[in-house]
Structures are given as structure tokens and as C-alpha cells.
């Protein structure tokens, strides 16, 4: 039977569904019976979800203008050099 330490070591592969079915089944059983590991699993899943779901901040207008201006120069240079 896996221990809490085993569960923790396999946690990433467990979350990424990268485990063989037998190991996954054992860890499923462990997490159902171990409240601590259940909480760690739940809060790790929430951590990943919250990072994935967070929209990046808009690029400040002045920075975007600077970027577009530099790009224009670059495109013009490319045209000139053929």
C-alpha cells in the first residue's frame, strides 16, 4: 500500500494522468482514505487551476506603441534589403 510520502512523490504524475493504471488505482484508494493527502491534492489542483485561469495583464499602451514602432522600422529595413 502506498504511504503519504509515495503519494506526494507521484502527485505530479497523478495530476497529469501520467501513471500506469495499477499505480493510479492504489493512489486513488489512498487519497480516499487519507484526509491529509486529499487536502494536498485538492489545494494543488486549485493552485494549478487558478494559475491557468488567470488572464495576463494588458500590455501598457505606451509599451505597445514602442513595440509597434520598432517593428515598423524592422519591416521597412527588411524591405530595403530585399
Amino acid at each position: 500500500m502506498p504511504t503519504c510520502k509515495d503519494f506526494l512523490r507521484e502527485l505530479s504524475d497523478y495530476l497529469d494522468s501520467a501513471l500506469d493504471p495499477a499505480t493510479k488505482k492504489e493512489l486513488d484508494k489512498h487519497v480516499q482514505e487519507c484526509p491529509d493527502c486529499w487536502v494536498v491534492l485538492d489545494t494543488t489542483q486549485k493552485t494549478l487551476k487558478i494559475y491557468k485561469g488567470c488572464e495576463p495583464q494588458a500590455v501598457p499602451a505606451a509599451l505597445e506603441d514602442k513595440l509597434m514602432a520598432a517593428l515598423k522600422v524592422k519591416m521597412a529595413e527588411k524591405k530595403l534589403s530585399g
Binding site: 503519504c4 510520502k5 506526494l8 512523490r9 502527485l11 505530479s12 504524475d13 495530476l15 497529469d16 491529509d36 487536502v39 494536498v40 485538492d42 489545494t43 494543488t44 486549485k46 493552485t47 494549478l48 487558478i50 494559475y51 491557468k52 485561469g53 488567470c54 488572464e55 495576463p56 495583464q57 494588458a58 500590455v59 509599451l63 505597445e64 514602442k66 513595440l67 509597434m68 520598432a70 517593428l71 524592422k74 519591416m75 527588411k78 524591405k79
Partner: protein, 204 residues
Amino acid sequence: MTSTEPQSDENLVELAKSGDDTAFPELVKRYSRRILRVARNITNHEEDSEDVLQETFMKAYTHLAGFQGNSKFYTWLVRIAMNESLMKLRKRKSGKLVSLDEELNTGEDTMIREIAVWEGNPEDTYSQEELRAILDKTISSLPEGFRSVFMLRDVEEFSTEETAEALDLSIPAVKSRLLRARLQLREKLTRLFKSKGENTFAYL
């Protein structure tokens, strides 16, 4: 279906290669936010991240002819941004004698101290700006070797193999850093989001 449907990245890349001046700026608009986020989260430096944003798109434009489409355009772009960010970071750190391996050698590999359920859903409790600030601050407190792996795998959704290739790491190293990054972020966020009155206790 309407004619205003956005063009695919592949189409825009082909148009840009054939000299269409509107195509590459379209790709810049599409991805500049996400590239700036990668740069900010890796460099932890506002000015450097702005430079990285510009250098990434300039490099991508310059080398566009060499982009063969073996990977997705965005994956290629993130790899450029990651390299530029790491170069900036190392330049700033060059005065300090701390190797990246030392920084990662924290002794305890997966220490768990906070075991507590979260109070509700942070996405409902905080405004998007507040939450973004919390997440940025939390990720910036991780060692660089963890931040870069976490950003690629869990934010930009690179595969383990793509991450290993982009960062020149072995697959076991990516997996080990990812696990530790995830657990450290979980630990830090749990301190902020845990239910009040919940006991925390030592684990393992």
C-alpha cells in the same frame, strides 16, 4: 461563419513571410500579453521584461524565414522569450556567486507544512487584479529553476518534453522541479487562502 473570423497563426506566419505588412503585427497583438507575462514572471524586473517583450518579437520577425512550422508558432515564440528572459536574469545575477543548482538544493524535497482547505473560491473572493497580483508575487518568490519549469508546463501548457528541450534539462529534472514548484506554490497560496480557524499541523 463570417469573413471576420480570425486567421490561424499558420496563415498569418505564411502571409508575413510573403511580405504582408499587416500579418506580423496581428501576431504581436495576439500574443504580446502572454509574452510579457512570461518575461515578467521569469525576470522579476519591469524594465527587463519590457526589453524581453520587444527583443522576442524582433528576433521572431528577423528569423521568421527560418521558422519551419515543426512546432506551433506560439511555442516557438515562448522559447525565444524564455531564452531572452533567462539571459537577462543571468546578466543581473552575474555579480553573485550563487549557482542555479545551489539555489535549488533546498535539502527537503517536498516539505508540506500547510494542510488546510481553502476558504471558498479565490476567484470569487478577489478581483481579477488582486488575484493576479497575488499569483505574480507568489510565483516570483520561487527559485528561477522552478519558475521557468512551472511557467512552461502549467501556465503555457508545454509538454514535459517541450519544456525539457526549451530549458535544456533532462525529463526527470523537469518532473522533479515541476513537483517542487507546484508544492511550493500550493503551500504559499494555502497560507493566504486557507479557511480561518482551520488548524495547520506538521505532515509526514
